[in-house]
C-alpha cells in the first residue's frame, strides 16, 4: 500500500505543474544531501556541521567546467565524475586534520571548514565570480538527452537518489558499516579490536563528501546559476536537523525529515514569518516527543521491504 502510494506519487509528480516539480526537486536534493551527511553523523557518529562545503564544491565544479566563466564546456557525466573525485579529495582533506577531535570540537571545526570554503568562494572573484556567482551555466545532457527543464531534472534526481540510497544502504550493511557503528558506539574499543579508525572515518568523510558533491552538481545544473548565498551555514544546520528529526542513521528517516522541513514551509508559504515560528516550535515538540527521530534506527529499509512483501 505505502509502496504503491509512493510509486504513484513519484510517477505522478512530473505531470503536476512545474512548481510542484521544482519543489520535489528541492526535496530530492535535500534527501540526497541528507543521505550523504547521514553517513558521517548517523553511521560513524561524527557531528559534521560543515557539510554544505562539499555541496558547494560540487556546484562550483559544474559551474566552472560548464559555463563561459573559464570558457569550458565539458559534458555533464564527465563533470559528475570529476566532481565526485574533487569531493572525495576535499572530504579527505577535511577529514585528516579533524580525526583526532571529538564531539563538539569536531562540530565547530567542520563548521569552520564550511565557512572557510564559503568565504573563499565569495572572495576568489577571478575564479568564482565572487558574490555575483557564476551565471549562464550549460544545460546538462546525457547522451544527447537534455536535462534542463524541471521534469527532466526530476527524473535524473529520482534515478540518482535511488542509486545512492541503495549504495549507501549496502555500505551500511557491509563490514565497513559495522565498523562505523562500532566507532560511533565506542571509538577506543573499536581500535582495540583492530579497526583502523582513521581509515574508516576517512572512508566515511570521503563517501559523504562525494555524495554531497554530486548533489551540488545536480543543483548547479538545475539552477544554472551558482553563488555563495546558496551555501551558507544554515544549510548545513538544516540538513543535520532533517536527519535528527527524521531519525538518525536511517535512510527512511531522512526522507521523512526532509519532507517535514522542506515541504512544510512551502505549504505554509502564505503565513510568512509565522511559519518559521511554527517550524521552530514544531521542531522542539518533535524532538521532545521523539528524541531519536520519527523513524527509529531499527526500522531500516529492510524492515520496510520485509513488511511490504509479507515476510
Amino acid at each position: 500500500m505505502v509502496l504503491l502510494a509512493a510509486v504513484a506519487l513519484i510517477v505522478a509528480t512530473p505531470f503536476l505543474s512545474n512548481y510542484y516539480v521544482r519543489v520535489a526537486n528541492g526535496l530530492l536534493i535535500y534527501i540526497l544531501l541528507g543521505i550523504g551527511l547521514n553517513i558521517v553523523i548517523g553511521y560513524a557518529g561524527l557531528l559534521d556541521l560543515g557539510f554544505v562545503a562539499f555541496y558547494a564544491v560540487g556546484a562550483y565544479t559544474y559551474a566552472l567546467l560548464a559555463s563561459p566563466q573559464l570558457g569550458l564546456h565539458l559534458p555533464f557525466l564527465l563533470i559528475v565524475v570529476i566532481a565526485a573525485c574533487v569531493g572525495a579529495i576535499t572530504g579527505i582533506l577535511l577529514g585528516l586534520p579533524v580525526l583526532k577531535l571529538r564531539g563538539d570540537y569536531l562540530a565547530i571545526v567542520t563548521l569552520g571548514f564550511g565557512e572557510i570554503i564559503r568565504i573563499l568562494m565569495n572572495n576568489l572573484d577571478w575564479l568564482t565570480g565572487g558574490p555575483k556567482g557564476i551565471a549562464r551555466l550549460d544545460k546538462a545532457s546525457i547522451v544527447g538527452i537534455e536535462l534542463a527543464r524541471p521534469t527532466e531534472i526530476y527524473w535524473l534526481l529520482i534515478v540518482v537518489v535511488l542509486a545512492v540510497a541503495t549504495f549507501v544502504w549496502r555500505m551500511e550493511k557491509s563490514i565497513l558499516g559495522k565498523a562505523w557503528a562500532a566507532i560511533r558506539e565506542d571509538q577506543d574499543a573499536a581500535r582495540g579490536i583492530g579497526i583502523n579508525t582513521t581509515n574508516a572515518k576517512l572512508a566515511a568523510f570521503a563517501t559523504s563528501a562525494t555524495i554531497g558533491s554530486i548533489a551540488g552538481v545536480i543543483f548547479a545544473a538545475s539552477q544554472r546559476f551558482v553563488s555563495p548565498d546558496s551555501f551558507a551555514l544554515q544549510e548545513s544546520v538544516l540538513i543535520v536537523l532533517m536527519i535528527v528529526v527524521g531519525g538518525i542513521g536511517n535512510i527512511l528517516g531522512i526522507v521523512v525529515g526532509a519532507a517535514i522541513l522542506i515541504l512544510l514551509p512551502e505549504v505554509l508559504r502564505e503565513f510568512a514569518e509565522w511559519r518559521i515560528l511554527f517550524l521552530g516550535l514544531l521542531m522542539i515538540v518533535l524532538i521532545i516527543v521523539r528524541p531519536s527521530g520519527i523513524v527509529p534506527r531499527s526500522f531500516g529499509p529492510e524492515k520496510l521491504i520485509r513488511g511490504l512483501f509479507g515476510k
Partner: protein
C-alpha cells in the same frame, strides 16, 4: 475582467522592511485604480509572495507565477542576487517582469521579457564620484564594501568613475556582511587619511560604520549608496555622527514635487507610517502598469510584454520609458547630504 500581477520580494527576514514598503507603494496606487473601476473595466489582482531575499525561494516563487496562467506580469525581486536566478525562469515562460535588482549585469544577458524601472548602479555611483571630485575637491578615496553582489558592484563602479575623473583610490577594504564592529578597519583607514570613504553596503552597517567612524575621529566624508536613504540611517548612527554624509539614490525627495508629496501623504494615511525608501517606486510601477494596460492589445503575457517595452508612462517621478535592453531611457538619480535630521538634495542627474 481582471488581470493578476505577481509580487515577489522579501516580506520576512532582515530585508522585510524594504520589500513590504516597496510593495505597499504599488498596492496603494492599485487600490485607488481598482476603486475607480480599473483600466478600461479591467481590475488588477495582486498575488504577493515572499522570496526572503533568498535565490532558492525566489526560483520557487518564479515557478509558481509561471505555472499560474492568470499571472500576466511580475513585479519581482528586490535583490539583484535573487533576480539573477529567477530571470531565466521568467524568460522561459514568457512572463514579463519589472525587476528591481539594480546590478547593471542583469540587463546585459539578453533577456527579452524584463525591464528595470529604476536606475542601475552605474547611475547610482556616477553622481557621488562627480560630486566628490568637483564639489568636495577630493583627491583620494578609500573604498569599503561588504562583498555582496550589490555592495561590491556599486563600489567598484564608484572606484572606476572616481579614477576616471582624476582621483586616486587608496585602497579597497572588505567587511563581512554580518560585521558590526569596524574599529579595526577604521584604525586602518585613519592611517591612510583619505578625503572620502565610499561604503558599498546596506543598512544597518551604513549607520554603524558612520557612527564608529565619527567616534574614532576619522575626518573623511562618508558616501553611501541607496540603502542609506532612510531616517534610520540618521537615527541609528546618531545625528552628530552622520552630518555631511552623502546618500545617492534613485528616489526623489518626498517633498520634491507636489505629486510625490501627495503620494507621501496618501501612504501615511493608508499605512499609518512614513513611506519606505522604495515605496515611491512601487507607486510609479503601478502607474507604469496602468499605462501598459491602457496600451496593451490583449492581456496575454506576450501582449503585456510588448506593451511594457513600448510604454511611455507618466508617473509621480516623471515620464518613464525603456530602451531595447529594458533599461530606463532616462534614469533619474539623486544625491543627498545629511543635514540635521534631514536629507538635503545636493545634486541630481
Amino acid at each position: 475582467e481582471d488581470v493578476t500581477i505577481g509580487l515577489a520580494g522579501p516580506i520576512s527576514g532582515p530585508q522585510a522592511y524594504f520589500g513590504t514598503t516597496w510593495h505597499n507603494g504599488f498596492k496603494l496606487y492599485i487600490d485607488k485604480l481598482n476603486a475607480a473601476g480599473g483600466v478600461n473595466g479591467v481590475t488588477v489582482k495582486i498575488n504577493q509572495q515572499d522570496d526572503q531575499a533568498d535565490p532558492r525561494q525566489g526560483t520557487l516563487v518564479a515557478q509558481k507565477f509561471c505555472d499560474d496562467e492568470s499571472v500576466v506580469l511580475g513585479l519581482v525581486n528586490f535583490n539583484s542576487g535573487v533576480a539573477q536566478s529567477t530571470l531565466p525562469i521568467y524568460e522561459d515562460c514568457t512572463m514579463p517582469t519589472m525587476t528591481f535588482g539594480s546590478n547593471p549585469a542583469l540587463t546585459q544577458q539578453g533577456y527579452k521579457f524584463m525591464v528595470r524601472p529604476v536606475a542601475n548602479d552605474f547611475a547610482g555611483a556616477l553622481l557621488p564620484a562627480e560630486y566628490a571630485l568637483q564639489k568636495l575637491n577630493a583627491k583620494s578615496a578609500l573604498i569599503v564594501n561588504d562583498k555582496q553582489v550589490f555592495g561590491q558592484g556599486i563600489s567598484e563602479i564608484f572606484g572606476k568613475n572616481f579614477i576616471a575623473g582624476g582621483g586616486k583610490v587608496l585602497d579597497t577594504l572588505s567587511i563581512a556582511p554580518t560585521d558590526v564592529d569596524f574599529s579595526a578597519v577604521l584604525a586602518q583607514i585613519k592611517s591612510k587619511n583619505p578625503d572620502v570613504i565610499y561604503l558599498g553596503a546596506v543598512m544597518p552597517q551604513l549607520a554603524l560604520f558612520a557612527k564608529q567612524m565619527h567616534e574614532q575621529g576619522v575626518k573623511a566624508t562618508l558616501m553611501v549608496p541607496d540603502g542609506g536613504y532612510t531616517p534610520e540611517f540618521i537615527s541609528q548612527a546618531g545625528q552628530v555622527n552622520v552630518q555631511g554624509a552623502t546618500v545617492a539614490v534613485q528616489a526623489p525627495p518626498l517633498d520634491a514635487t507636489p505629486a510625490i508629496a501627495d503620494f507621501a501623504a496618501q501612504y501615511k494615511a493608508k499605512y499609518g507610517q512614513d513611506a519606505g525608501p522604495y515605496s515611491i517606486y512601487g507607486y510609479a510601477q503601478a502607474q507604469i502598469l496602468e499605462a501598459v494596460l491602457k496600451s496593451a492589445k490583449g492581456y496575454t503575457r506576450e501582449d503585456m510584454n510588448e506593451a511594457l517595452h513600448n510604454v511611455k508612462a507618466d508617473t509621480a517621478i516623471g515620464q518613464l520609458e525603456f530602451d531595447d535592453k529594458g533599461e530606463l531611457k532616462v534614469a533619474p538619480s539623486y544625491l543627498y547630504k545629511v543635514e540635521g535630521d534631514k536629507f538635503t538634495l545636493i545634486g541630481t542627474k
